[in-house]
Symmetry: C2
Subunit: 209 residues, 2 copies
């Protein structure tokens, strides 16, 4: 697929590298495609970098991987996203990581993203675990779970396949209205990793019997 | 330990049976100790049944396992719980299971319980998975996780041991202020089991590497 990854930090970089390795056509969308960090990322991944508008315009899938405070601007730069699959990988974290603050009356970051990007087929995914698990979701017991939710069946199916491409076990959690639960799951992972000092090499698995 | 289990439904019954089997002294607290269902439960578990006030008075640990709408009344019947360990196993579920509604401005059911039971050492635990997993938390990959949180270290340690007694892997999620995340995790489990039709034989595990 043609994927624009908006954001070149730990999460965006990891997702873009992983999908490029899996054979997808990845373009990193960034405010400064000429930056040294971005040049390193494109050199090592084989992906391109472009301005956000250009990256988004040519993509079927747009993955949002910028800090929550930068999401609205990124969506403005991306321009019209009607019909595109938008993967919301963000979490509306308070600066001290103590909780979530969307900064609006939306029930979740994902629903706020959907309101800001009319016509986009938003899927909440790649928000509930660390970038280290996105780089390698394999654990002794099996792959980590990647929970996702959204209102467009085809968009969700594509998102689930992109999770499989990274090695995750995809778990469909339902409509986009479930996003508050996935954002709470992200905060739980963060608090276990950092506050409870279990470290980043932890991941949830959904077991079945 | 001397444990009062308030509630004789699926969750309360399962917890009480499990702890009685593990050698604890269990008393079910119920409005009607003479009811046929309760008689069956005590006969098969070897636990006793008593009025809520009597059960709570003699207990070191009080496990709340009644529907959210009945919690305040149960706490009133229980009387003073100062110094006791109170395990909040409840979820403030809307009747249609679509979401959570505490019915107050508290951030979580657990924090509301703490406000209603001054001096009690409240631990949120045994709320985030189904009673079937409480009856047997073993899966092929290993034991299911039982996440818990609270503000009293000794109470949390006791709660964690009671999770181990049932076969769970206990995971300390931090202070009682984390309870909203554990209540969201409960709703996620419920939605995966029922709405997403994965069934009740699913459980989260926290993997490490």
């Amino acid at each position: 697929m043609k994927i624009a990854v908006i954001g070149t930090g730990s999460v965006g970089g990891t997702l873009g590298r992983g999908w490029a390795r899996a054979g997808h056509e990845v373009v990193f969308g960034t405010r400064d495609p000429g930056q040294a960090d971005v040049a390193r990322l494109t050199a090592e991944s084989g992906a391109r970098a472009a301005a956000v508008a250009e990256a988004a315009a040519g993509a079927e899938v747009v993955a949002l991987a910028v800090p929550w405070g930068a999401v609205r601007d990124a969506l403005r730069q991306a321009g019209g996203l009607q019909g595109k699959i938008v993967l919301d990988c963000t979490n509306p974290l308070k600066p001290d990581l103590s909780g979530l603050d969307i900064g609006s009356s939306a029930a979740s970051a994902a629903e706020q993203v959907a309101a800001w990007a009319p016509g986009a087929r938003v899927v909440k995914i790649f928000n509930s675990t660390g970038f280290n698990n996105m780089a390698d979701p394999r654990y002794p017991e099996g792959p980590a779970a990647m929970l996702y939710c959204g209102d467009d069946a085809a968009a969700k199916e594509a998102a689930g396949r992109l999770a499989v491409d990274l090695g995750f076990e995809p778990i469909d959690a339902g409509p986009l209205a479930e996003a508050p639960l996935l954002e709470a799951l992200a905060l739980l992972w963060i608090h276990l990793a950092y506050r409870q000092q279990l470290g980043r090499e932890i991941a949830f698995r959904l077991m079945r019997r």
